[in-house]
Each structure stands twice: as structure tokens, then as C-alpha cells.
């Protein structure tokens, strides 16, 4: 019996061979080390993401999330729903929030749900939480510190929180403008956080990455540049959209602006997996387009 | 008066013993000061020290106590001896703390202390414990003029305090302006909806209160006397004039709306569809009476209403009211709700430049938005009749659209301001009638028989407000307090508060009058001015210059002091060219004797003497605090605190110069528009009088620099000593006075 069990909503980008598969790998390793059991919501569907608004509109977007939550209520009784992807977490949480405050919308959602078969009814019984909340609130920093066997000594890391894990809901007790939990996590795994990092919560323009790349890349440039300015050798983030955007477009940004960016962008779960003694593979480091050599070294140590 | 016995008490505490030769000072007190009893004590303000003095007062018959210790501002509680006149000699803050603690400085410091002892003893001999004013008035009834919300509240609150009240209302019914309101702005949570105007309930309470006697359709046609002894003629339409005695007066005559017909650009007058806020209230009240929705004056239904804020207010051109009336934003919001609450489909737009809903008004603002009232930041240029309705042309400041319009409007409501009903502006200068209608008014409210005019002096724009931030109820007519929108633009909630405060001040005034006590700022002072009739030349300066209109003229045109109205500033004393006015404990002599008591060294001594007459309210405390900071300044200065620079009589200056002083400094409060003089005109009058002194100096063949008048503030802790040193240097430069040793 694991010490903690959750109803798990991985989200599209976390699927095998999807853009955040490396995130998924590291989350699994991390949870194993922390003895957290994740029960995947069967046949979950896409959250619709924020960008779903234009075509999807209001109700269809909420219904997509209501379906996941309803299945969870049915299958993973009494468990909180946990998401690792910021967009999934936000989408699901927003739906829970709106349906809780709008009885009309709730009725309509359930009317639509009925069509989905499996006699699904959304009741709003379960909390919707982000993996980071689980770590901080259910385990706590002290517990997270215990399993550290390979402190990431000498690494200076910029904690990039981004938007959707931070706003509008955010992590309890953290400020929207200057959340500190990533810095705490960085410090816990033995690295040095860039506390004054001033692009912590800057938007990476993810929603426009495809449609208006020059706009989103201007944002990404600020984010990476500031990390360099503060002498960081790596950026860490809790959000797959942020991770992908900030990492993979560095080449194009270098072309566009003549910069020489080569900044690894990893997930908190990867840092923790390595610090907890996991291998580079377990940490999904092979999933980095911009490699994280120092992290790989540490992971390789003593193997 | 029992024969005078002076006791001088010298403290050795706080370093006085180390820094000064107290024995020497004792000798000065005895030999030169002629003090019959002289005692030293190592710690005068402690219980034994005080007991020692009390014993002398009780058993030795000491009735003039000279305390040679710290400032009169310190240890006040300790040194109170009701049966003896107390003189404080400030040896601490303004001698040892303002002189360097060095052997070189010892001599001058000791001389300084000795002079102050001489001055203290001299003052003591000229002063006496004030006897209670024989003319003290004992009437405790309170007259309230004006039967609106403010007046009714003042009357009711005073009555509930246990005082009898006369309430005079010019209309045939109580209620005033508020009675015409359909509803009023809420002043309790949730601040969401218009409330009943509350007038009926209040009027009923007033009529039900046995202590209140109401005069309807009545005015005050004559008011004379003083606090505790006012005599008022109350004239009732088609009724007899009755004369009543009251102790204090609350003037709550309210306001009238600014005349909207001065705003033709907004179509007022030319279109019946344009009304002011009062007009809209009338429409709303009719509709309510008929149990219908509000309709246009022509009876048609209303689908769209536009509210124009600051109509004829906050006017920078000088054509209309310059000020903001404060309540109008909330009032328009309330009126927009009249429509929205009846029918959410009526469009209501409020066009404003700054929306002013302070405090919980913010909730009211939000509530209006929730109800669908539209708010537009813009400036209305013109309101035109177009077809069956109106078109409002305005500059939308957010969308920066110069030519924005709202068309087919059924009603336009102009938020015009409040104009006070404050009676005659007794200080009106014909030139300035710029602030719209405010000044142009001539019917007296109180019909005071005062020498200085029939009504309460106005501060600005016709409002009878106090100029003092810390003392909002200070009018310049003792025992008469104004409240409500006549004092300052205000809404009902504030008017209720204001009325209650004014009632307290009125009660306080009758209680003080009954004991012959002064009210603010010299609260509790029992002294009062007396004058030698035979010496008076009827020059009228005292009657003209008294900041509080306390002095009238009798049949033979002699000044007639109304002690009850006096605030004890001494401005009359300063004004009197023949020096016939004095207070028992503050007179030409109490100060003059101190000036003469100072030992003025001969011209070869290189020890100049500078007299500093310092306002006791600001300059003197600044000097004390400079001392507390051990800020050193010239040892040649001798400081005498005065009640107000206005009380400084020219004779003190000429006496000082004649007796060989090398210079005279006067330090008083700021005057001008933002004056800080607690007696309103004192420092201004002083500087005016001093501006004339140059001729006097020339006649005496003295340099004009021998007298210097300065404005200082209580915060000038660093500046005041600097000014002193500067002046000392100046005197040094122009040399010693030629008048020494005469």
C-alpha cells in the first residue's frame, strides 16, 4: 500500500512519444522514489487547453473536462485528481470551478455527459490538483528532502514557473508575482536557486507558438536571456508547454536575434529523480533537445 | 486684593545645579527681584518640592509663585497652585540646554539665568490670579437656526444631552432640502440601494421631544449678547416677534442648488427635458406619489437618461463654482438607480471626469454597475434638442473621441453644486465676485448686532468653514457654531455627524460661559480684558481688529467688551495706542516690566541685548525643542512668550529700544491665505503694525534692522536658533544701540 494514492490525469503531451514524454518518465520515477501511486483515469480525453476557446466555445470545453472528472469520480473513488500538465490542471480546475458556481451550466454539462454513455454524471466530488501541490502540501518540503542522495551541488538553476501553474489559481500561499516554491525545490535537491530571477512568471507565449512564432519567441528570448544574466546554467519548470517552448525554439531564436542560447530546460521531476539517485534514463534526460550535461554527470556518478 | 507676597523657587535638578550658580540666582531673586520668600530645591518638581511650595502658599501667604526651573510647557501638572499666580522661568530648555556646557560659556549663561529670574519676579509682581468674570452668562438654552436634517439633528442631539433647544425654521415645515429627496444615498451596509430620506422620522422625533421648542415660518431678526447670554428676536410670518434668551447658537441654514440656468450650453431652460438633480428628485417624488414609473415632464416614458457630472462645478474658467460639492457623484448614482430599479431596460449613462465615491461609496458605485448603470469618463460639451429627445455631445476621454454622442435621450440630469445659505459676507471686497453665485447674497441670517457685521464671517466661496484642520468648529463668532452644508459642501451622512459635533461645541460653550471660562484655543482661561474708560480715545482699533468681533461700541462710542465672546488673545491690547486694555495676568505691564527688568550692559561691554517676543503657540515650543536637542544659540537674547503676536503693543518695542536693547525680534505664525495663527488675524495684524515701525525707528535715528518680524512654524526646531544667531550677527554688524545708559 503506497503512502499516497491519486487519480491521475496525464494529458496528451505526456503520452508515449509525445512532446512531454520525458516529463512523464521522470514523474513516474519520482513518484516511485516518494512512494506515490498514480491511478490513471481510464480513457481520459484532452482538456481542450485554453486555445480550445475559439472553435470549442464554452460548454463543449467544460464538457471535455467534466468527462474526465466524471470517469475519475466513478473509477478512482475518494481520490484527488492529479495533473502534471499545467494546461490540463487549469482546464479541469476551471471546469470544476465554473460548474460549482453555475448550476445551469452544471445541468447542461451533465445533459451532454449523458450522451457519452457509461452513465457518467459529474458531481464535483474530487479536488483537482497539480503534482506540485501534492509534493508541497501532502508531503511537504522536509519529506521531499529526505530521499536526496545526490545533491546537485554547485548547480545554479533558474526556476521558471510560467503562467498556468501560477495563475489564476496558483499554489496556495504563493504570490502570483513571485512564487517561491520552485526555488525551495531547487534548494532541496542541493542546487542554488536564482532567487531574483525576474522572468519567473513571464508568459512564454505558448498559445501563439505555432500561429505567431515571432511574438512568442520574443517572450522566450527574455526568459532565457535573464536566466543567463543571473548566471544560471539551467532553467527548471513545472509546465510542459513552457518546457517545450523555452527549450526547442532556442535554435530559431539564435537565428532571429543572433544570440547563442544553449540553455537546458528541465522539469522539477527530473532534478528530483536525479537527486534521489535515479539514472539519466529514469530522469528522462535523454528527452532533452538541449542536453543537460551536468545533470547527466551527476546521474552517472557512482553507477 | 490681599497684599502681594512673592515666593521664588529655584530648582537644582536636570543639571541646573551644576551649570548655574543657584545661590547667586537666589540672591538676585531676593535683592533685585524683591521676592519675600526664596528657596532652592534639588528636585523641585517631585512631591517634596511641590509640597514645599504648597506649604508656603498655605502658611506663608505666598500668592505669587516664581518657578525657576524648566519650561512652562513641562511639568504643568506639578506646578499648579490655584490660589497663587504662577510665573515660570525657563532656566532649563532656554538657558542651560541652549548654551554650551563649557567654562568659557559659564559667565554668559549665568547672566542669562539671572536676567530671566529678574524678569520672572518682575512679571509676578504685575500679575494676579484672574477673578471670575462678573458678566458671565448662565443661560444654557441652545438656539438652532435651520430645520433641515442638520438643524433637526443638532436640536435632537442637544436635547438628548439634557439641554433645552429652540429650533427656528424659515419654511412652514421641518425637513429642509432633504425633505424634497425621493430617497437618499445609503450610509449603512450593504451600501447597495437608495434609502428612505429619513426626514419624516427625524421630524417626528424632534416634535416629540419636550425639550425642543420649534418655530416654523420664522427667522432670527436680531441677535445680540454673548455666550451664556444671547438675546434673539424670533419673527414669525404673520406672528409676533418674540425675544428669547439663549446660551449658544448652532447655525444650520444649509444650501441651495447652483442656478442651472447659468448653463445654457447644457440646454437647461431651453428644454424641459433637462433638469438639475433637484428637478429629478421632484419628478421621482411625483411618480412615486402616483405609484408610477418616472416619466418625462411631457408625460412620455423614459428610455434613456444621461447624467452630467460637475455641471457648473470644478470650473477652471472662473465662470461657475470652483469647488466640488462632494455628494453629486453618489447622488447621480442614486438617481440612476431610481430608473434601473423600476426598469432595467432604461439606459442610464453617467458622464464624469473623476468619479468621486469615497469610503464605502465604492460599494454604491459597484452596485450601480451591477444594476447596469453605464459610466463614461468624458467631458460634456453640449446638450441639444433633436426630434423628440435630446442629443448629448461629449468628449469620450477613454476612447479619445472628441465627437462622441448619445442620442434620443429622454432626460438629461445636471449635477450642479451646493451654494451655502450663509447670509451676508461681511468681508466681501466688491472686486472679487468670481466664484459664481457664492458671494452674491445679502440677506442676513442671524442679524447680529455686532460691530463687525450681521453674520458669521465666511472662509471661502461663502462657506462658513473653519480654517483650521485640527479644529473644524472654530468660527470667529464665539458661541456660534455652524454645521452642515453651510459650513462646507457635504452629504447627509456627514451633515448628521457635523450637526452632532456642533451641538457638543454649543453645549461646551454654554458650560464654559457659565464659569466665565474661555473656549478654544485658550480653553479654561479665566482672565478677561478690562479697559480704563477715562483713558480711551475712541479710536476704534480694538473694535475693528478683534478677530472674534467681541467688542462693540456703546452709545457714547466707547468700546463695549463682551467678555463672553473674548478668546483672550490680547489683539485689542496690542492694538490700543493709549494702552488702556489689559488682562489681570497679561498686560502692558506684565511684559513691560520684564523688558525693563533685564540688566542691559553698557555699550562698551560688547554684550548686546536682544529682545525676542515669541508666540507661545508655535515659536516658543520650537525654542524649547531646540533646547531639548541641545541646539545652541546666542546668549544675548531674552525671550518673552506672548499669547499671540497680535497682542504685541508698540510700546514694548519702543520701551526696549529706549532702554538700550540693541534689537527686537518678533516671532509669530504664518499669515496670508494659509494662515496658521490660532487667533486668525493676530500675526497678520502684528506684521502690518510692524511694517509701520520703520518711521518710528527713523525718528529715533535707529537702523531699520533694530526690529525684525519673522514667520516661524513649530517645526522650525533647527531654523529658529539659526534665525536668532543670524540676527545676533546682524546686530553685531550694525553695532550697539546708542540708547544705552539713558
Amino acid at each position: 500500500m503506497a503512502r499516497k494514492e491519486y487519480s491521475f490525469y496525464p494529458g496528451c503531451s505526456s503520452e508515449r512519444r509525445a512532446s512531454a514524454s520525458n516529463y512523464m518518465v521522470s514523474v513516474e520515477s519520482m513518484c516511485q522514489k516518494l512512494d506515490i501511486k498514480l491511478n490513471e483515469i481510464p480513457d481520459w480525453n484532452c482538456c481542450g487547453a485554453s486555445i480550445g476557446y475559439a472553435q470549442g466555445g464554452e460548454l463543449p470545453r467544460h464538457v471535455m473536462n467534466a468527462r474526465n472528472l466524471a470517469i475519475s469520480e466513478q473509477v478512482n473513488k475518494g481520490q484527488d485528481v492529479v495533473a502534471t500538465c499545467a494546461a490540463c490542471w487549469l482546464g479541469a480546475k476551471e471546469t470544476k470551478d465554473r460548474l460549482a458556481h453555475d448550476q445551469g451550466l452544471l445541468a447542461e454539462a451533465n445533459e451532454a455527459l449523458r450522451e457519452a454513455g457509461m452513465n457518467l454524471v459529474y458531481k464535483g466530488e474530487q479536488e483537482v490538483r497539480h503534482m506540485v501541490e501534492v509534493l508541497i502540501e501532502d508531503l511537504g518540503y522536509d519529506e521531499l528532502r529526505k530521499p536526496v542522495v545526490k545533491p546537485l551541488e554547485g548547480m545554479k538553476i533558474a526556476g521558471y514557473v510560467g503562467c498556468q501553474t501560477n495563475r489564476p489559481f496558483g499554489i496556495a500561499g504563493e504570490s502570483f508575482e513571485n512564487p517561491k516554491y520552485l526555488d525551495h525545490l531547487i534548494e532541496i535537491v542541493g542546487a542554488e536557486p536564482v532567487e531574483k530571477y525576474d522572468q519567473k512568471v513571464t508568459c512564454c507565449g505558448g498559445a501563439l507558438a505555432f500561429s505567431e512564432p515571432e511574438k512568442s519567441q520574443a517572450q522566450i528570448k527574455k526568459i532565457v536571456e535573464s536566466a543567463y544574466d543571473y548566471g544560471a546554467e539551467m532553467i527548471v519548470t513545472p509546465c510542459p508547454v513552457c518546457q517545450m517552448n523555452v527549450e526547442i525554439y532556442q535554435g530559431q531564436i539564435n537565428k532571429r536575434y543572433g544570440t547563442k542560447f544553449n540553455m537546458p530546460v528541465t522539469y522539477y521531476s527530473q532534478l528530483m529523480t536525479v537527486a534521489y539517485g535515479g539514472s539519466a534514463k529514469e530522469a528522462g534526460l535523454n528527452g532533452q533537445i538541449v542536453r543537460a550535461p551536468r545533470l547527466e554527470e551527476i546521474a552517472a556518478k557512482g553507477r | 486684593m490681599a497684599d502681594m507676597k512673592v515666593g521664588a523657587y529655584l530648582c537644582q535638578g536636570c543639571g541646573l545645579g551644576e551649570r548655574l550658580d543657584i545661590k547667586g540666582l537666589a540672591t538676585v531673586a531676593q535683592k533685585e527681584g524683591k521676592a519675600q520668600v526664596v528657596r532652592e530645591h534639588e528636585f523641585l518638581c517631585n512631591s517634596q518640592g511641590v509640597a514645599m511650595i504648597q506649604k508656603d502658599v498655605a502658611e506663608e501667604g505666598v500668592n505669587r509663585v516664581v518657578i525657576g526651573a524648566c519650561s512652562r510647557r513641562a511639568k504643568v501638572e506639578a506646578f499648579q497652585f490655584p490660589t497663587a499666580a504662577v510665573t515660570r522661568v525657563n532656566l532649563r530648555e532656554q538657558v542651560i540646554w541652549s548654551q554650551p556646557d563649557t567654562d568659557e560659556a559659564r559667565e554668559l549663561t549665568q547672566e542669562m539665568a539671572a536676567d530671566y529670574i529678574r524678569m520672572g519676579c518682575a512679571e509676578a509682581k504685575k500679575t494676579a490670579v484672574p477673578a471670575i468674570n462678573p458678566a458671565a452668562g448662565h443661560n444654557k438654552r441652545i438656539l438652532v437656526v435651520g430645520g433641515g436634517i442638520t438643524g433637526m439633528t443638532a436640536a435632537l442631539e442637544a436635547a438628548r444631552g439634557g439641554y433645552d433647544v429652540l429650533l427656528v425654521e424659515k419654511e412652514a415645515a421641518l425637513g429642509g432640502f432633504a425633505a424634497k429627496l425621493h430617497r437618499r444615498v445609503p450610509f449603512t451596509e450593504p451600501f447597495a440601494d437608495p434609502q428612505d430620506n429619513g426626514v419624516a422620522a427625524l421630524a417626528a422625533a424632534v416634535q416629540g421631544e419636550s425639550r425642543i421648542q420649534v418655530f416654523l415660518g420664522a427667522t432670527t431678526t436680531r441677535t445680540s449678547g454673548a455666550p451664556g447670554a444671547f438675546s434673539v428676536d424670533i419673527t414669525t410670518e404673520s406672528g409676533p416677534t418674540v425675544t428669547e434668551n439663549v446660551g449658544a447658537i448652532v447655525m444650520a441654514t444649509g444650501f441651495r442648488p447652483y442656478d442651472a440656468s447659468r448653463l445654457p450650453e447644457f440646454g437647461f431652460g431651453s428644454s424641459p427635458l433637462v433638469v438639475d438633480q433637484a428637478g429629478l428628485e421632484a419628478l421621482a417624488s411625483d411618480a412615486a406619489a402616483k405609484g408610477q414609473a418616472i416619466v418625462r415632464p411631457d408625460g412620455k416614458a423614459v428610455k434613456s437618461v444621461v447624467f452630467v457630472q460637475c455641471a457648473g462645478q470644478r470650473d477652471e474658467t472662473g465662470t461657475h463654482l470652483k469647488y466640488c460639492s462632494g455628494h453629486c457623484c453618489n447622488t447621480s448614482i442614486k438617481q440612476a438607480m431610481y430608473f434601473k430599479d423600476q426598469n432595467p431596460n432604461v439606459d442610464t449613462a453617467i458622464i464624469y471626469t473623476d468619479l468621486r465615491t469615497p469610503g464605502n461609496g465604492e460599494d454604491f458605485y459597484r452596485s450601480a454597475q451591477r444594476k447596469g448603470v453605464t459610466f463614461t469618463k468624458g467631458r460634456v460639451a453640449k446638450v441639444e434638442t433633436a426630434g423628440d429627445g435630446l442629443t448629448v455631445h461629449f468628449h469620450d476621454l477613454i476612447l479619445n473621441d472628441q465627437a462622441a454622442t448619445i442620442s434620443s435621450v429622454d432626460l438629461v440630469v445636471l449635477a450642479t453644486g451646493q451654494v451655502p445659505n450663509s447670509g451676508v459676507d461681511i468681508e466681501a471686497k466688491p472686486a472679487e465676485s468670481k466664484d459664481g453665485e457664492a458671494r452674491v447674497q445679502s440677506v442676513s441670517i442671524l442679524n447680529l448686532t455686532y460691530r463687525q457685521g450681521p453674520d458669521v464671517p465666511q472662509l471661502k466661496y461663502g462657506f462658513t468653514d473653519s480654517h483650521f484642520i485640527c479644529f473644524p468648529y472654530e468660527t470667529r463668532r464665539t458661541g456660534i457654531y455652524t454645521a452642515g452644508p453651510v459650513r462646507r459642501p457635504m452629504d447627509i451622512a456627514q451633515a448628521v455627524e457635523d450637526a452632532t459635533g456642533a451641538a457638543l461645541k454649543a453645549i461646551q460653550s454654554v458650560e464654559s460661559a457659565a464659569h466665565g471660562r474661555a473656549v478654544h484655543p485658550r480653553a479654561g482661561d479665566l482672565s478677561y480684558p478690562s479697559f480704563r474708560r477715562e483713558g480711551c480715545t475712541q479710536c476704534k482699533r480694538c473694535t475693528v481688529e478683534c478677530p472674534f468681533g467681541a467688542i462693540d461700541e456703546d452709545e457714547q462710542r466707547y468700546p463695549q467688551f463682551n467678555e463672553g465672546r473674548c478668546r483672550r488673545c490680547g489683539t485689542c491690547m496690542g492694538a490700543c495706542p493709549v494702552r488702556v486694555i489689559s488682562f489681570e495676568n497679561y498686560s502692558i505691564d506684565t511684559v513691560g516690566a520684564q523688558i525693563k527688568a533685564v540688566d542691559v550692559p553698557d555699550e562698551f561691554s560688547e554684550k548686546p541685548r536682544i529682545l525676542l517676543l515669541a508666540c507661545e503657540n508655535d515659536a516658543y515650543p520650537a525654542l524649547d525643542m531646540a533646547g531639548m536637542n541641545r541646539r545652541v544659540s546666542s546668549a544675548f537674547v531674552r525671550t518673552i512668550p506672548v499669547r499671540c503676536l497680535g497682542s504685541v503693543n508698540m510700546i514694548w518695542i519702543t520701551d526696549a529700544l529706549n532702554s538700550g536693547y540693541d534689537g527686537v525680534m518678533l516671532m509669530g505664525c504664518k499669515h496670508g491665505d494659509d494662515y496658521q495663527c490660532h487667533f486668525v488675524k493676530g500675526s497678520e495684524l502684528a506684521s502690518y503694525r510692524m511694517s509701520k515701525i520703520d518711521d518710528t525707528l527713523k525718528n529715533l535715528n535707529l537702523e531699520v534692522d533694530r526690529v525684525r518680524t519673522l514667520e516661524v512654524a513649530i517645526t522650525d526646531i533647527e531654523r529658529v536658533p539659526a534665525l536668532i544667531d543670524e540676527y545676533a550677527a546682524k546686530i553685531n554688524e550694525i553695532g550697539m544701540s546708542p540708547f544705552k545708559g539713558f
Binding site: C12, S13, E15, R16, R17, A18, S19, N22, N45, C46, S50, I51, G52, Y53, A54, Q55, G56, G57, E58, L59, P60, M64, R67, E108, E111, A112, L113, R114, E115, A116, G117, C163, R167, P168, F176, T202, C203, G205, A207, L208, F210, S211, E212, I248, Y249, G251, Q252, N286, G287, Q288 | Y365, R366, Q369, R370, G372, T376, D396, I398, L399, D401
Partner: protein
């Protein structure tokens, strides 16, 4: 869709604010704006907005229907939620912007060529088809949305990234035919169909 637009115009007799309140997600909040401008200043793409949110709210009150609905501005929203958390009146600005975009899109007034509008459509179609995002198909359709030639060109631009993703196992080379998606895709389709019906009925998009 044009007729839907005209029918809306008639229905709300030029009272655009009422129209927005009735048809736009969270539209009833528009009237609560006090024009402080904190939203406009907080948007990371601020300079790209022809009309920032607070101005759009004012334009709605001023009845500038076409200007608002045809604007590119709402399409600049990156859903960063800065405006929401800073708004002193607690307006859900992000959602209102989404709602306006969606409404303009439904009425056919939204700028045809706005890339984000087109991306959003493709994205939704993509997830609606299989219940989950098919990243490869999604990107392919995006590259080729302006036809084959520019598609190839864009593809080339993105080549390095694509290869990088493939190498690191973050892109499925067989995604076009091997992508599984949800099992009960039928149920999802029925569910969405129903949801559209309800929403259209509620907003009077259909008689």
C-alpha cells in the same frame, strides 16, 4: 453565418452591451470595469493589441460592435491570466477575451486570416476527432494550412526541431496513422454534439 450576424443586430437593436452580456462567455462582467487599465498594462503581448481589454470594454459600452468583433486584438490573448489576477474588480478578463473571440468567430466576423483563429480551429478539430491531441497531425495540418508549397517551406524551417523531437522520442513518426486517441470516441462525439446543441440553443444561434 452572415445571417446569424444580422439577426443578432436586429435582436439587440444596437445595444451591443446587452448582446455581449447575453452571448459572450462571462459577458455580464463587462459592465463592472472601472477603466483602471491594469489589464491592458499586464498583458505580455500588450503592444500587439490594437485595442487593449479595458478599451474593448469601453468600446462595447459605446456600441462599437463591428470594431470590436472584427478586431484582431482578442486573438492576441495567450491565456497567461495576468489580467485576471490583477483586476481590482475581479473581472474574468481572459475568459471574456476568449468569449469575444469565440463569438466573433461564430458570427463570421473574426478576421479570416488571423493565424491564431485558424490554429485554434485546427487544434479543436484535431482533439475533437480522436479525443486527444495528435501532435504530428496537428503540426502537419498547420504547416500545410496555406497550401502545399508554404507547408513544405515551413516544414523545412521546423526541420531541426522536428528531428530533435523525433530523436528524443518526443514525436511519434507514425502518428498520422498509428495515433490511438480515446477508445470511446463515439461517446465523445455524441457528447460534443449535444454540447453544441445546448449552447447554440441557449445563445439563440439556432431558431
Amino acid at each position: 453565418m452572415g445571417d446569424l450576424n444580422t439577426s443578432m443586430i436586429e435582436k439587440y437593436r444596437n445595444d451591443f452591451l446587452k448582446e455581449v452580456e447575453a452571448n459572450v462567455e462571462e459577458g455580464q462582467w463587462v459592465k463592472m470595469c472601472m477603466q483602471c487599465g491594469v489589464c491592458s498594462g499586464s498583458c505580455p503581448l500588450g503592444p500587439s493589441w490594437e485595442h487593449p481589454p479595458q478599451e474593448i470594454f469601453m468600446m462595447i459600452r459605446a456600441g462599437r460592435r463591428d470594431e470590436v468583433l472584427k478586431s484582431e486584438s482578442m486573438w492576441m490573448c495567450t491565456s497567461c491570466y495576468n489580467c485576471i489576477v490583477r483586476c481590482p474588480r475581479e473581472l474574468p478578463i481572459t475568459h471574456i477575451m476568449h468569449g469575444l473571440a469565440n463569438y466573433a468567430h461564430r458570427l463570421g466576423l473574426a478576421p479570416k486570416m488571423n493565424p491564431t483563429r485558424r490554429f485554434a480551429k485546427i487544434f479543436w478539430d484535431n482533439i475533437a476527432k480522436s479525443g486527444r491531441v495528435n501532435e504530428l497531425e496537428l503540426s502537419m495540418r498547420l504547416y500545410f494550412m496555406d497550401g502545399f508549397k508554404s507547408g513544405v517551406q515551413k516544414g523545412l524551417e521546423m526541420k531541426d526541431i522536428g528531428i530533435g523531437m523525433l530523436k528524443t522520442g518526443r514525436l511519434n513518426p507514425f502518428g498520422l496513422f498509428a495515433h490511438k486517441g480515446c477508445k470511446d470516441i463515439k461517446g465523445i462525439h455524441k457528447m460534443l454534439k449535444k454540447a453544441y446543441e445546448i449552447e447554440d440553443r441557449k445563445k439563440g444561434f439556432v431558431a
